[in-house]
Amino acid sequence: MKVRLCYFASLRDAAGTATEEIEIGHVDAVRLYEAAAERHGFSLPRSRLRLVVNGEIVDWSRPLQAEDEVVFLPPVSGG
């Protein structure tokens, strides 16, 4: 199935893109992040990121669905 990834801040710089669509053969967000981290050389450990699916902050254990928009949210630094 196809999911859409959106990247912000250091992840966007490392990926060299704000978004990408990829095909996955599983529904596991943890595995999705680990593959993206390996592909793009992300240095932030997953424990420091929150998972956002279709605009909602959700638990990493939540199964993904086709067409989901997935964001790995790095620690924020506004203000």
Binding site: G55, P74, G78
Partner: protein, 137 residues
């Protein structure tokens, strides 16, 4: 009134302040977060703020709505700038109007603390040596 906004334009404090006018309110506390010329011992030349706009708007509005429900504050406005900022530019403004000063101060402090903690906005510091780095505390 409660309002949270993201803007790419310079923050117009006087215009925002007028949104808090209310003859029932005797106290207005406000806060400006300003781009300063150093951080952690490094000279900063400018800053870039990037946001996850959709979620940032919802988180920001949830913060101001919740605090008005739970406090004596009558009006809370918070605006965060995004894009490229220079030293001295206002990055974030919070204004709170209340009948009395206790609530105005406490709510103003609470809002900026929560915004820094929860709202998906990230700062990229551009240093004097031409290097830069996203801040992920």
């Amino acid at each position: 009134m409660t309002r949270f906004e993201l803007t790419e334009l310079p923050i117009d404090v006087a215009a925002l302040r007028r949104e808090l006018d209310d003859p029932h309110c005797g106290a207005i506390a406000s806060f400006e977060g300003i781009v300063r010329d150093h951080n952690d011992g490094r000279r900063v030349h400018r800053l870039e703020y990037q946001s996850y706009a959709d979620l940032a708007m919802r988180e920001g509005q949830a913060i101001v709505d919740a605090v008005v429900s739970a406090s004596q504050a009558r009006h809370v406005v918070c605006v965060h700038r995004v894009g490229m900022l220079a030293i001295g530019d206002i990055a974030v403004w919070v204004g709170v109007a209340a009948a009395h000063r206790g609530a105005a101060f406490e709510v103003c402090r609470h809002v900026i603390d929560q915004v820094k903690l929860r709202v998906p906005i990230w700062k990229n510091e551009h240093y004097a040596d031409a290097s830069s780095g996203w801040i992920h505390p």
